[in-house]
């Protein structure tokens, strides 16, 4: 079925139909029923509220949960534009205007934090039900994930986590998100990127005095989280990253080495890439080459790693190897997100898996 252009038709009716389809389990069709490119976040969320309060066969709390799932699923899809994969870690709070829901398009990454905040308020109104406990947990984690991917650290800290933490007591991922959301707005991005100005990586990013002061506190918080074995490698990875930002190469390497135990290829690649970078700063070329090779083994075709490794090989007079590496990159715009961008979006990397699990839990 072709998507309805909301500029031509009224929006509210198609959105209601879309939600009804989503509630019936037609996930992808539901999201594609409406062309959300011209929709503001405010209008979208108002429509969801209307659907919740309209009543029907489902009880109100079920409608709230379905609406939350739909909201997160939809905003995730609408914000996957071509520049999303390049956007660095800059919290839109206080930097991007307007950030009012009625003036932020649903395709903007700013919408991610706004939607996550709405989900927190809406989900917070539901009654706790043991049979819905797993679904609720997934929705909370997905809200955190979507907000993190949008770099909405302020909203996450002020509007999502307080309610989430009261509902999911003792959830380590929330403690993790709280630590990151407290420090990342000050730390900013490892590299800035826009069409006119590409900042050099790890050479000249300013680190504010407040960031320098907060990083040790963040590392201490991560060390507490580290005791949870499922998050140990992530805590080490982030500690390694923060020590790197402080240019404390020894401690950075020590923590990144521990993060090599990551069960996920992305984690292994991130730890290896950052290690390679540290070795480069210490002019330990052979170790840097080995680290970059580990990163590529874990996640092939990462452009950042390929170029840096090729340059090191070339300057080490291994020119044929360097050129072969460059020539082996697939001839297409890279679809994989930069390792740095992935790292700096925290739990954003978990969004796809969480949204899939939510759909399963809704059945």
């Amino acid at each position: 079925m072709a998507a309805i252009d909301v500029r031509q038709a009224g929006f509210d009716s198609p959105l209601q139909r879309s939600l009804t389809a989503y509630a019936a389990g037609d996930w992808d069709e539901a999201i594609s029923l409406v062309d959300f490119r011209e929709v503001t976040t405010g209008r979208f969320l108002d429509g969801l509220d209307q659907w919740i309060h309209r009543g029907g066969e489902l009880v109100a709390d079920d409608r709230r949960m379905i609406a939350c799932a739909f909201a997160l699923d939809t905003v995730w899809k609408t914000t996957r534009g071509p520049f999303d994969a390049l956007r660095g870690n800059v919290d839109p709070w206080g930097r991007v205007t307007p950030d009012r829901p009625d003036r932020v398009m649903l395709t903007s990454h700013v919408a991610q934090g706004i939607v996550a905040s709405w989900v927190a308020k809406t989900l917070g109104q539901t009654q706790r039900r043991p049979e819905k406990a797993e679904l609720e947990r997934l929705l909370w984690l997905a809200a955190v994930s979507v907000a993190s991917d949008g770099s909405a650290w302020h909203r996450l800290r002020e509007e999502v986590l307080p309610i989430a933490s009261a509902r999911l007591v003792g959830e380590p991922r929330l403690a993790f998100a709280a630590t990151l959301s407290a420090i990342l707005p000050d730390v900013g991005a490892l590299r800035t990127l826009d069409l006119l100005h590409r900042g050099d990586v790890l050479h000249q990013e300013p680190l504010s005095a407040s960031a320098r002061k907060k990083i040790p506190e963040a590392i201490a918080a991560l060390d507490k989280i580290r005791s949870d074995s499922s998050l140990g490698w992530e805590a080490d990875l982030w500690a390694g990253y923060f020590y790197l930002r402080l240019n404390n190469w020894n401690l950075s390497l020590e923590r990144l080495e521990r993060a090599r135990s990551a069960p996920e290829p992305e984690g292994v690649a991130m730890a290896a890439y950052l290690s390679g970078w540290v070795y480069e700063q210490r002019v330990e070329t052979d170790d840097a080459i080995l680290a970059y090779r580990r990163a590529l083994t874990a996640m092939p075709n990462q452009q950042e790693v390929v170029w840096r490794l090729a340059a090191l090989l070339y300057l080490s007079h291994r020119r044929e190897e360097a050129y072969e590496l460059l020539n082996s990159m697939p001839a297409s715009t890279p679809k994989t997100r930069s390792l740095l961008v992935t790292l700096e979006r925290g739990d954003g990397r978990l969004a796809v898996g969480l949204l899939t699990s939510i759909r399963r839990a809704l059945r």
Binding site: L195, L196, H197, R198, V201, Y314, L315, L326
Partner: protein, 314 residues
């Protein structure tokens, strides 16, 4: 045989004295033979008719005996580094301009020469081109996000392994502003110093013009930090060209293809010197200084040096 970094040998030679031709014309420096391309001008005009004995060459401060090689019989690999938007974003015209430059380049080359094109867009890629039809896929026709990855593209261009019996010349058409590269701008000069290629640049608009056509964006006026970054990028490119012994041509909005003809002519009017190093220790960096014994206001542009790799200890 020790493996060495090489110096780029370039084009034509003195038209008066028959040059010395090596039994095997090899354009890669070795511990036995080092090859240097030298461009000589007086008052902006190429100085013709020079002989080997007119040149003075110092390798790490030690004078060397040089000979000249005939360059006109040696095939050339020309790599053009260009920017270009996809066809549907060709409003800025860079795509069409790049196609035209590459097409003209093919016609300026000889039957044994080869043309390679490298796109300096956000998604750097390149390849040899045997016909105009191969140009659009290399330069555009795909999703690009704007931005110019100049350092990355120059690395890709200079890193091409060229057979020892060919010369490699890289010409970049650019405004010198890198907005997208993964590699740091400072990496460019060491890369050029370690390459066999000669690098030259045709500059659309330098930082002083206040304009840029990089990545299809025409912008006037920048905030100070952006301007500083732009100037640093430009100066690094100038240093890299100087390190390789090439030329920078400021062309503004003038005829780009004419500029290419001038740069190629520059190459063809250069001299190729070769020598077997005497009295200098092998491994490490070798600084080369080339001058004329009778300077008389002549300006000599040549590579600044080459690197000798320590041989393996087995």
């Amino acid at each position: 045989m020790t493996k060495l970094a090489t110096l780029m040998a370039s084009l034509a030679l003195s038209q008066i004295a028959p040059p010395t031709v090596l039994p095997q014309t090899v354009f890669r420096s070795s511990s036995d033979v080092v090859i240097v391309s030298a461009n000589v001008k007086r008052g902006g005009t190429p100085l013709r008719g020079l002989r080997a004995t007119d040149f003075a060459l110092m390798d790490n401060g030690v004078a060397q005996d040089v000979e000249l090689i005939a360059a006109d019989a040696v095939p050339l690999d020309l790599t053009l580094v260009l920017t270009g938007d996809p066809p549907d974003r060709a409003v800025a015209g860079e795509f069409r301009r790049s196609l035209e430059i590459a097409s003209v380049a093919r016609r300026l080359l000889g039957p044994s020469d080869r043309l390679r094109v490298v796109s300096a867009c956000a998604d750097v890629r390149g390849g040899f081109v045997a016909s105009d039809a191969q140009l659009p896929p290399l330069l555009g026709g795909r999703e690009t996000l704007g931005g110019v990855a100049l350092t990355d593209a120059l690395f890709f261009a200079m890193a091409l392994p060229v057979p020892p019996t060919r010369r490699h010349v890289v010409v970049a058409f650019t405004d010198g502003w890198d907005t997208w590269s993964i590699l740091d701008t400072e990496t460019l000069v060491p890369i050029v110093e370690n390459s066999d290629a000669l690098l030259s640049a045709a500059i659309w608009n330098g930082p002083q013009s206040g304009l840029t056509s990089g990545g299809g964006i025409k912008v006037t006026g920048f905030n100070p930090s952006v301007q500083r970054q732009r100037e640093r990028s430009f100066r690094t490119l100038e240093s890299a060209v100087a390190a390789s012994g090439g030329s920078v041509l400021n062309i503004g909005d003038s005829n780009a293809t004419k500029s290419l003809e001038l740069l190629l002519q520059d190459f063809r009017e250069s001299y190729i010197l070769h020598y077997s190093p005497r009295g200098v220790s092998a491994p490490g960096w070798h600084t080369i200084v080339v001058s004329l014994r009778q300077p008389a206001g002549a300006v000599v542009k040549a590579r600044k040096g080459y690197f000798v790799v320590e041989p393996p200890k087995w």
